[in-house]
């Protein structure tokens, strides 16, 4: 009994110490002024953005220097529009399509990764190839082309693609000699949808890349690289040639899909280099309520190289003006030509 009493005594004394010196777990709150919002945005990115080291090597990004350069543009008398412009320009220094700032009147973005390049895609040509009698299964539109090549148009990974959808699509296209998966203009969506689609084109568990995350506020505080392994689907799988069509607007989860498909044995990537976007984005916010998005978890290909600035295709093909005038999609036709070989 005495031992228990003494144990309780010790416990109570420990508690007394703990309670007597209470410590608050708190976060510094910036003021809701142009200066406060500027500092809050810089700090969020400084502590949580994941590509500082990579972009310092790629083009000399120096976030401290960016702070100094933009800080002198901040004046507490500026209005929301002016503040938005300065903060948006500052975020543009990151050259990252996953970095955005959202206000009720505008969204700040960096889109030069596709705006500075030929589109290599045309709605009119898409309509010509899909015609009007195409099928729709979840987020996929598909049909058999007249040379017995299956054509799947996947413009986004935002919407769900079910395993039942994929079974039906692949079964319908099974008689085809080859398959074309057109993901041009696919700006991404759910990684799990990209994995589900890619899992139909491998037969063994495959190392497709690596992923890591930040473990602290420092620019180099990262976890170890963890393998990304793609498991083959246990359902219907495609065993013939498959061509993935890309352009500069293939981004984020779609960029990951191309990374996965590069590891598939029968896959050939045709088109333009992808846009990239190899950092899984997180969200945050500023004191004035504007939303912020930034790359948080970097992903790499199987050679441990970042795909942030895109993936080169196996065949770099551009839509020519002459073909465009004739209503021909050069990239699709190139893939069909390869299929015939």
């Amino acid at each position: 009994m005495r031992k228990i009493t003494h144990a309780l005594l010790l416990l109570a004394m420990l508690l007394s110490v703990a309670v007597s010196f209470p410590s608050c777990v708190d976060e510094e709150e910036m003021s809701d002024t142009p200066r406060g919002n500027f500092e809050a945005l810089w700090k969020i990115v400084n502590e949580r953005y994941c590509f500082f080291d990579y972009k310092r090597q790629a083009y000399g990004l120096d976030w401290d220097e960016v702070h100094d350069r933009y800080s002198c543009q901040i004046d507490d008398r500026m209005n929301d529009e002016q503040l938005f412009e300065v903060l948006g320009n500052m975020l543009g220094e990151l050259r990252d399509g996953h970095v955005n700032m959202y206000a009720s009147f505008n969204s700040a973005r960096y889109w030069r990764w596709h705006e500075d390049y030929p589109k290599n895609f045309s709605d009119s040509l898409e309509r010509r190839y899909l015609a009007t009698d195409y099928r729709i299964a979840g987020a996929l539109r598909y049909r058999r082309l007249d040379d017995n090549v299956g054509y799947i148009r996947c413009s986004s990974f935002d919407a769900a693609i079910g395993d039942g959808n994929l079974d039906d699509v692949l079964m319908y296209l099974a008689p085809c000699n080859a398959l074309v998966i057109d993901i041009r203009n696919n700006g991404g969506g759910q990684l799990t949808m990209a994995e589900r689609l890619a899992a139909r084109f491998i037969n063994n568990e495959t190392l497709v890349g690596y992923m890591q995350h930040k473990t602290g506020t420092g620019h180099s505080d990262f976890s170890s690289m963890r393998e990304q392994r793609l498991k083959p689907s246990g359902r219907l799988r495609w065993q013939k040639k498959v061509f993935v069509l890309t352009n500069r607007s293939v981004y984020s989860a779609a960029n990951e899909f191309v990374k996965y498909m590069k590891c598939a044995p029968q896959c050939i990537v045709v088109g333009d280099k992808t846009g990239g976007g190899a950092g899984m984005p997180f969200s945050s916010e500023l004191p004035n309520g504007w939303g912020v998005r930034f790359s948080a978890c970097p992903m790499y290909n199987r050679d441990r190289q970042s795909t942030e600035f895109g993936i080169e295709p196996d065949y770099n093909v551009q839509i020519s003006d002459a073909d465009m005038a004739l209503g021909i999609d050069t990239i699709i036709e190139f893939a069909r030509m390869l299929a015939r070989q």
Partner: protein, 289 residues
């Protein structure tokens, strides 16, 4: 002190003083200056005694979770608490069982985003009991295991929309109840306090996505051992019991200050609740033919 010497032996006196010293700082911190006392409304006779208190709390909450946002959210919290103390009258040790369920809804400073939280908390512990001043003051102290499961959901975030809460703590707990009368009416002033001492909690790593944890199974310090330094938290309740007809009502204040700083992430939830409910005491008597 004279009364204390009269009723309590020396080692227990020291323990009592330590328990009372534990109660003083939170009381002072809350800006309260009343005497901390114990509860228990049980008349002494042989048999098993069960005291059950059911409270409904409503009040303000202030939430910070830097995994979701650097901004603090404030709003309203609703909480249900069921506390049972049970044991034999002739024994000094009693069992403590507490169930708590809470839900809160809060908004950011700019008033354009919401966070919703919910949790369930279960505590199981043992308390030793001392009576002083002719049963007017009852002091209890002991320890309890505290298991908590819950979530915090930010309605506008993308890949980091929510935080899962899962924790297990060992928490020393102390209670005091002081009985007094005003104009011939009996009242009991209660104070309870518990502080997590050590435990284990779930947390994603600083910039780790739930996709990595749950879709890929890439764990990274997600089960974090904690001490009162990493999770300096405190739950305390000051309440008054009084009778209306044959019902004992309880009114009071509950302050629940939960904090954590793990994996370079900061979390706090400060709840200030007005609580109201009922306290009932049952006595189980064995009848022998």
């Amino acid at each position: 002190m004279k009364h204390l010497r009269q009723y309590v032996r020396k080692p227990q006196r020291i323990l009592l003083l330590a328990v009372l010293s534990l109660m003083l700082p939170p009381l002072c911190g809350s800006g309260l200056s009343c005497h901390a006392q114990s509860n228990d409304s049980v008349a002494w006779s042989r048999g098993k005694v069960i005291t059950n208190t059911r409270l409904l709390g409503v009040g303000g909450v202030n939430v910070l979770d830097t995994y979701l946002s650097p901004e603090k959210y404030s709003g309203t919290e609703l909480r249900y608490i069921s506390q049972t103390v049970r044991g034999s009258e002739h024994r000094k040790w009693r069992r403590l069982i507490v169930h708590q369920g809470m839900a809160s809804f809060s908004r950011n400073r700019a008033d354009n985003a919401n966070e919703m939280a919910g949790s369930y908390d279960f505590c199981y512990g043992f308390l030793r009991r001392w009576t002083l001043f002719g049963d007017r003051l009852t002091v209890r102290a002991g320890g309890m295991a505290d298991a908590n499961i819950g979530f915090l959901y930010n309605t506008r975030n993308g890949n980091n929309p929510a935080q899962a809460r899962l924790s297990f703590d060992i928490s020393p707990v102390a209670m005091a109840a002081y009985k007094f009368t005003v104009a011939g009416k009996p009242f009991t002033l209660n104070y309870e306090v518990s502080v997590p001492l050590c435990g284990l909690m779930f947390s994603p790593n600083y910039g780790q996505s739930y996709y990595e944890i749950f879709s890929k199974g890439n764990y990274d310090h997600n089960a974090v051992p904690t001490t009162f330094i990493a999770t300096p938290s405190l739950r305390n309740t000051l309440s008054l019991d009084f009778n209306i007809a044959k019902t004992t009502l309880r009114l009071g204040y509950m302050g629940d200050y939960r904090q954590a700083k793990v994996n370079n992430l900061k979390y706090h939830s400060y709840s200030h609740l007005f609580v109201i409910g009922m306290t009932r005491t049952f006595r189980l008597t064995r009848l022998q033919p």
